[in-house]
């Protein structure tokens, strides 16, 4: 079947997301696939900074730095698509990561969502929340959760 499939791959700068991408490329990717690399930027530095309340110019600087980093990352993603010869696009959408991924998957009429997994323990998942959990339970399409073979003591 030479039909085009739409695949949404959730990407951040972590090795886990990259593993998801590589795994998809090696095991699932077909030449006609239309791939959306989706980045959900989080303004960590700014939100967690203790200086947010005091100095507007510091906040602005932090935001600008963050913007630059994000822009660089998105360019990297674009290069990734090109170097693998993949038809597709790079998207950056702000918001709650799980919700954004599901929303974009609907918009892009995805046939598959690919997401990496950090393999957090139960307690951390409960406290911090888990994006792959959310996506798994709310997506309307198959979700490939990529965890790689770990060394047992890395749990």
């Amino acid at each position: 079947m030479a039909e085009t499939r739409n695949v949404v791959i959730a990407m951040d700068e972590s090795e886990f997301a990259n593993f998801g991408f590589e795994y998809y490329m090696n095991n699932v990717h077909k030449p006609n696939d239309h791939v959306v690399l989706l980045h959900v930027p989080e303004y960590h530095t700014v939100i967690q900074s203790p200086m947010v309340m005091t100095d507007v110019s510091v906040v602005t600087d932090l935001l600008q730095d963050e913007e630059k980093r994000i822009k660089a990352f998105l360019e990297q993603l674009g290069t990734k698509l090109k170097s693998h010869g993949i038809g597709g696009k790079v998207k950056s959408v702000g918001g709650n990561a799980g919700e954004v991924i599901c929303k974009v998957a609907n918009e892009e009429k995805a046939n598959l969502i690919v997401i990496g997994s950090r393999g957090m323990g139960t307690i951390r998942r409960t406290l911090l929340g888990s994006v792959s959990d959310y996506v798994m339970h709310h997506a309307h399409v198959p979700v490939l959760v990529c965890k790689r073979q770990e060394h047992p003591h890395h749990k």
Partner: protein
């Protein structure tokens, strides 16, 4: 059993003892998994391709997962292990006051026959495609743990499963098995949600923090 073209070998595994693997996150579970049945197709474990484990329970969810895998991911050289974990409940539990031996043994035989029919169905599916693989049945109370265990045994590179199962029994509330497997397997897991049941989000969302991947 009608034999179709292609190799097919039937073996019955010896019952296995206690599974002593530990999960660092929880209090220690010791799960008993008893092998019930195994059938090979194609080249069996000689097949050179990727090794894949697929959880099947006869439900539309797992059928959808199997179909999706076959349509979108399957390569002809893949070695496909289909794992079924039947409910081999103690019939005495439901019929505590039923002392009719004959009736009990009829019930047990019916259960066995149903199980075999299901496994044959899956075996035939593999045979029709010319797929290399194996159909296994393992009796257990903890399906998620059995899947992870069998993945390790079979050295499967990834796991395919539905987002839910038949959900008829207490031990598996909706979605708990796929949850378990995703968080305990050390390999990628493809969780297939049946689009016909798209609105079945049975969980209320937890508060999600700002983490890009988990």
């Amino acid at each position: 059993m009608a034999e179709k073209a292609g190799d097919s070998a039937v073996t019955s595994d010896k019952p296995e003892g206690k599974d002593g693997s530990h999960d660092h996150e929880h209090h220690h579970h010791h799960h008993h998994h008893r092998n019930l049945h195994a059938t090979q197709t194609g080249k069996g474990s000689e097949a050179p391709g990727r090794r894949v484990l697929i959880g099947v329970d006869g439900s539309e969810y797992s059928n959808y997962a199997l179909e999706w895998y076959l349509d979108h991911v399957w390569h002809h050289e893949d070695y496909v292990v289909l794992l079924n974990c039947p409910e081999v409940d103690d019939p005495m539990r439901h019929n505590a006051f039923q002392f009719d031996r004959e009736k009990l043994s009829t019930m047990m035989k019916e259960e066995q026959d149903e199980l075999h029919k299901l496994l044959e169905k899956y075996r035939d599916k593999l045979l029709t495609l010319g797929a290399h693989g194996k159909v296994r049945a393992v009796a257990t109370k903890h399906v998620g743990h059995a899947l992870v265990r069998v993945q390790e045994e079979e050295e499967a590179e990834f796991i395919v499963m539905g987002s839910r199962g038949k959900g008829t029994l207490r031990r598996t509330f909706m979605g708990s098995v796929s949850d378990y497997v995703v968080h305990h397997a050390h390999v990628p897991v493809l969780v297939c949600r049946n689009p016909a049941n798209a609105h079945g989000g049975k969980r209320t969302s937890k508060t999600h923090s700002h983490a890009a991947t988990s």
